[in-house]
Symmetry: D2
Subunit: 334 residues, 4 copies
């Protein structure tokens, strides 16, 4: 009656997932842990209620006491571990991205077929702000959506070039927007102006103008060295009204001539609920044998294709159409 | 490794607790369920991953596969079931109030001794807004607290007289304020003016002016027929700054000439996180064998004593000192 | 066609009034200026479009080219200059308070009779936030008002004892509440707890619980050494809804991990619009020969009587009824 | 000592200006009024403290008792009346636009030479929110500006095609952005997606991506049939922080399960302060003989040139560079 999960990769993100699965989610337990750093694997296993560490990621997939697999290892390894889980016929939740390129994502989609085994960790779909916003958009209360504005700011960037801004950061918007607007993105125009002197190696901020199949125009600002705080904004404008995420602050403080609320320093506190709720939904779905509301391999592929188009627009300075193969764009957005 | 919980009473509140325990909290499972309505007990047991319904609440306490007991039955039965759990030496979480009168609360406190087995469901202590506020107050960032203002409004009252406003509703403020300000309430003055025409049978709104042992003055408005929404506010004013709970809305909507956020209709969505986090903290503490951060039987007694003083002020029109017996007021506030 | 105004007293407040009258209000000009500091009078006169300084305040009242008088001299002189204007039959706008004691206010009321010549500078009645709030309360949209909560905080106090908190600061609430709620205050209970260590010579903060003739209960916190900013709050709670002043900030800033708006440092920027609009309303009314919407001498007396009751409650520790003489409480609130 | 103003055109906007000049601004009076509708001219003249109506707009310019001229007649007549005022050597404040085309604006600029007689009514420069925002941007507190986001929504559009959205509505952003960012706009890309079914005759909403000479990228959404309210937003994002206009609401209301503030129905209440302050600044500058802070003829021309580029981008689907003639772009932004 308890879903036994094997975790591959227990860096910051993977260890957080393991703790959530074992102790903050109902109906699951972590039984096996692997990491390329064996010491780290042992330490995290030791934190669990009853888990063991193994040397080899593939041993996690194969283990008899593993019903389902969570992959949170290095991005470059995602594809192979997901394919291994598919070989073993076990449900697998893979941290985003599903794979670094659209071509590799396609390979996973093909290997999965219609088995519905793969989920991708686009956790914003479980953030209570986003789910409230989507419920409102879907309810029709705002009228048909016409335009949207997204902003994604972080305090400072890690290493990476201008393309990495798209493939690592904007990728969240590229997944969440089709889900929110119920329509795939078909066209991207990339812009950048003056960059922050705090950005050592990439254009920052960048602005994307996206168009969906339903002809909704969306502006997206991604600014990784915004300094002031971790800030996700999203407004959807409909024919009769508009709705936007709030800054989810719980306390307002009056001090030093200001009234204000605090920004989170990074994505971990901002999306703590989303990560927990995503895991719970995954556990519930896998244990119940039904479909989950997590992003699918198709969704992972779709986001990768839009990212490719954005990077091409960056290179060519032109508006670029997203290159869906037959049926890919038209897959219902989950 | 999994804490097995027996649940006594599965009305709205108890069923919600049972579902949370079994499916939204890590490390616990509901194994036995009782309710005076046997059908309801069976239905809730059937929702659990693996639980049985029993006829008799005392059978829950006695069951071998019950490590800990949750009491959510009618207020008038709380005391007896808690005493039964104490007899069995099992940890018990009792929905508030611990008992309808301070005298009965005292009996529980005496029966418990120093065993630390009883927790009381004053869930606001686990609401993320309140915990953030308390962290801020405790940090000293606002300077020493000098005054506070609380507002507790609900859409409409159920049956009850003016005293019930204190003992059922304001009781949450009477518990949370000492916890927030780290000092027991020592004095109460009660006020009421014009009552809402929507209040059939009690003075509504009511205002309390409280004083803590540390000489912080607090105003509390309790208004049960406020109509517009379920609204909990609390501001703590210190020597250098002030901090207040926000309305925890996730989406802001522009429509019909207004920009606004939605109020919850009642306490269930408003305190959903608090209830879940309270249960998780209880499970973690009981399973770990350590002290929990939940309200204790002493806390339950203390709130009841302040409520008694408020009702006396209502009757006499005077400021009333809270009648702590030796040591009761001075117990450290948990 | 232009109202010629003589200004008595051009300290910070009076000079501000003179500049507004001469340069930011339509249909008026300052023609004569007096101050006990002759140099200051000359300097302010020199700033006007065409004004002269005179030695003697009474010469302002007497001057042929003075149609109306503005009194902004020391509080202790208000009464005499207002009486002088009444003797001359000239309209006079007197900064608050009309006089330091209720007895002196009564003398002005008697001297004025039904001539409608005296206005008192309770400028909050012209603050756009307050007028919007009053319009809403009056519209009935919130249902009948049941309770209200006011907060008046300043950065730091000047010299003065606990009673001065009432007579100089809380006096604004004591005037604006009857205007807002359309009912005189009949009863006051005073409270104080722990005082700020930043308050050298008075109880600070203080809390008043007021009751109006219409049985609306109001809590008022006055905190003069609040440090963090100048902050006026007021919420009126009705049978179906509630409305409150906003913090009138025009720009929201994201910086240093916070999203926030700025507090004004003192009353001057906070009430700049109110002062200008009050003067414009006075000029319009005097020039037009009709009644103004400014506070009257009766209003000044009424606020003084409530302040007396608050100070008595401070002394006696009891709830004190306001001592209106025949008809005073019942005067329609303007 | 009083500036005597002649007003040409007293429709809604012109009559509002006349009333402000005569009764809500210091140091001015309206003496002569003209309108193609003689009855309307007479009515508005009758409202003034002392003014006469004349038949012919040119008689306003010529009148001996007119020191300065305000032009608020039909857009198509602006240029000629401004040129007439220039011929007479009288200061003139012209409602926006200075003229319908950039070519006509250029003629005014040439006729004015360096006399500094022409002001253009881009009133947002006097809106207290915008001036606060500009002060902050200029202060360097946010670091160098990198990007900005503007939104301009109205309840419903009047007649007009897609180009009119730019030349009549977006024109305010096209003026205010160079003023705010202290750099002219050099490049425009126009976008539109799905239009509102409430828009009978134009693409609505439209989105512009602008680039300034200083390489700041700006997104502008203009949505004329937004239905929900009149809403101007503007955020400037700098290297260390961000700042944005607030919705200037004075009262927050709790009712019907919502907490909200009201939107203005149109620009008149939203910009009432801006119009008054602009007139006061104009009167002060003209009376004082010094330069004003109002938009100049150069500013009017500059905005028209950017609008031309936006319309060209709409037609061609390409990014379009603004066609400044020698020196025009480089003129310091006022």
């Amino acid at each position: 009656m308890t879903l036994r999960v094997g975790v591959i990769g227990v860096g910051v993100m993977g260890a957080d997932h393991a703790r959530n699965l074992d102790r903050r989610v109902g109906g699951a337990a972590v039984t096996v842990v692997a990491d390329h750093d064996a010491e780290r694997a042992a330490a995290v296993a030791g934190e669990m209620r009853s888990a063991r560490a193994v040397d080899d990621a593939r041993a996690v997939v194969a283990a008899d006491d593993v019903d389902a697999v969570l992959v949170a290892s290095h991005d470059s390894t995602h594809r192979d571990f997901v394919l291994a889980a598919l070989d073993a016929g076990k449900p697998v939740l893979c941290e985003k991205p599903l794979a670094p390129t659209a071509a590799e994502c396609r390979r996973v989609v093909d290997a999965e077929g219609d088995r519905g085994l793969v989920s991708v960790g686009f956790m914003r779909r479980f953030d209570p702000s986003y789910t409230d916003l989507r419920r409102l958009v879907t309810s029709g209360e705002l009228g048909a959506p016409l335009t949207a504005h997204c902003i994604s700011r972080t305090v400072q960037s890690g290493p990476g070039d201008s393309a990495a801004t798209i493939t690592n950061s904007a990728i969240h918007e590229l997944d969440v927007l089709p889900w929110l607007l119920d329509s795939p993105i078909t066209e991207v125009t990339w812009f950048a102006g003056r960059s922050s002197r705090h950005s050592p190696d990439r254009r920052d901020p960048q602005i994307l103008v996206l168009r969906t199949a339903s002809d909704v125009l969306v502006t997206v600002e991604v600014f990784l060295n915004a300094r002031y705080g971790y800030d996700t904004r999203c407004e959807v404008v409909g024919e009769t009204g508009s709705a936007a995420l709030t800054l989810p602050a719980r306390v307002v403080v009056d001090s030093d001539r200001r009234r204000g609320v605090e920004y989170p320093p990074d994505w971990i506190p901002r999306y703590a609920d989303a990560y927990r709720l995503q895991l719970q939904a995954w556990v519930d779905a896998v244990a119940g044998g039904g479909p989950s509301s997590l992003a699918t391999a198709h969704d992972g592929l779709r986001a990768a294709l839009v990212a490719d188009a954005a990077v091409e627009s960056m290179t060519t300075g032109r508006t670029v159409a997203v290159q869906y193969e037959s049926g890919e764009g038209g897959q219902p957005v989950r």
